[in-house]
Subunit: 285 residues, 2 copies
């Protein structure tokens, strides 16, 4: 297994052109996943992709077309031969990853696609300085699955372990920031511990009480994940849209800007490994 470096994130963007008309799987990120697991692209990520570990430092986007991501909200989604699609994968740096960036015509299990590397970015965490001016604009491109229980004080976790509020459909600023912090921490390994829960809770509370929402346009959206063993449809309900907010406290703003920038590579919330919770983050002044 390769050794991942916590201090650098790699983002690779590809174009993908289907060679025949294709009915896509409900989540088109499955096409990309197939390329990794069948060793056509970044085979060293296979174990990370298949790992059952929570909060993985990995994002595999859905296929995109004309600026929109392709996923099913009920009806199947199809694409035509020759259409230019794109996708990206973000993951922690490992030596030699660039030797695993093949271009060419590949069978994906959903038809043949011609894959070509378009862009490559290596981000050193230490170079993300954070900003202390401007508003945060966060666009939720694909449904974000944020569990409101992240905002539960860790000391009460045991008491309320059987209460399941599901995913939040109105993202409070604190919930978004908590999850951004969690993805930042995901880079440093095991994230299921008390110290992380406690820090992400405190950050969430502080962000909820010291933030100013400037504007927003949000809507709940149900996405089809696939079928379960018995052939029944599996769905998840999250939200898409955008929100703009400010943290009128410079020290906190600076920390949060760093977490959000990292989330713009690795996504936010649950199921980032299948392209949910893709976010675009901008600092507006």
């Amino acid at each position: 297994m390769v050794e991942f470096f916590s201090e650098k994130i790699v983002k690779v963007e590809f174009s993908a052109v289907p060679e025949s008309d294709v009915i896509l799987p409900p989540l088109s990120s499955k096409v990309v996943k197939n390329l990794i697991l069948s060793s056509k692209l970044l085979p060293s990520l296979s174990s990370l992709v298949q790992s059952g570990m929570k909060n993985k430092p990995l994002f595999i986007s859905n296929l995109g077309k004309n600026g929109f991501r392709l996923f099913s909200t009920g009806k199947p989604v199809s694409v035509k031969a020759g259409e230019i699609l794109n996708f990206f994968i973000s993951f922690p740096y490992y030596d030699g990853f660039f030797t695993e960036l093949s271009s060419g015509s590949f069978e994906t299990g959903y038809g043949k696609f011609f894959i070509e590397l378009e862009q490559l970015e290596v981000i050193e965490l230490s170079s993300i300085k954070g900003v202390s001016e401007g508003n945060f604009y966060v666009k939720f491109v694909t449904p974000a699955l944020l569990s409101s229980k992240v905002l539960l004080p860790p000391s009460l976790k045991e008491k309320y372990k059987n209460v399941n509020p599901g995913y939040s459909l109105i993202p409070s600023v604190g919930l978004v920031v908590s999850y951004a912090y969690r993805v930042y921490r995901a880079l440093y390994g095991n994230t299921s511990n008390m110290e992380l829960d406690s820090k992400s809770f405190r950050l969430g509370v502080l962000s909820n009480s010291l933030s100013r929402v400037i504007g927003y346009k949000l809507k709940p959206l149900t996405v089809v994940i696939g079928n379960d063993n018995k052939g029944r449809l599996r769905t998840s309900r999250g939200f898409v849209g955008w929100m703009e907010f400010d943290i009128p406290y410079k020290k906190l703003k600076k920390a949060i800007s760093k977490y959000l920038i990292i989330a713009s590579y690795l996504g936010i919330g649950k199921s980032r490994g299948i392209g949910l919770g893709e976010v675009v983050v901008k600092i507006k002044s």
Copy 2:
């Protein structure tokens, strides 16, 4: 001064018919306020209306027409002679209040209105049992002004006293519940104390982490409050719309349902004394 009883809320609803065409003040609740302060209606409420105390147990609605409240979001609002308007006032019970419910034609400072009592309700707090089934549906009829700082841990209040995040435009469930609790406590007198802050904070945190939002339709809205000393427009930005949520934990749901029902009489958030934060609460099953 009359003695108010904390254990009973009175809600009185009136019809109001202008006797000539009227350009209303930006907040039409000012017409109602005038009726109280000029001793035409419920004169015993005058001292409560004029008191500078925070979190008063008092709600004076804006004038309503065809199910909508009349207030200015920029342009002046006017009504025609003979149109049937309505308004309501909620306040803690005091002996003899019903002798102060006059009907008749009154000068209001904004033209003459014919006022008539339409409905009278006396609610005993002890009779509000709360529910442990169903979802909460909260409709924000007039802009709600909720300061996110209510969700700040009381121990950090001093540290962040100079940070001003303003009013929240996306109401988290916890923020709504915190404010509903505060209006319940308003019935029991002085609400500026550590114990209240601490309890409303804990309730907010718990409600944020154990709630499930079912759906919502919300939008930010700026309302004109009036003019300041120098003639400049004073405005406040809050939100209107509705949200439906569930608290999948019976004990908490029961307590919260009581606070929300009280809020449906006394409103929610800041400036309830001038008709902002009017809410309709329903339990949906």
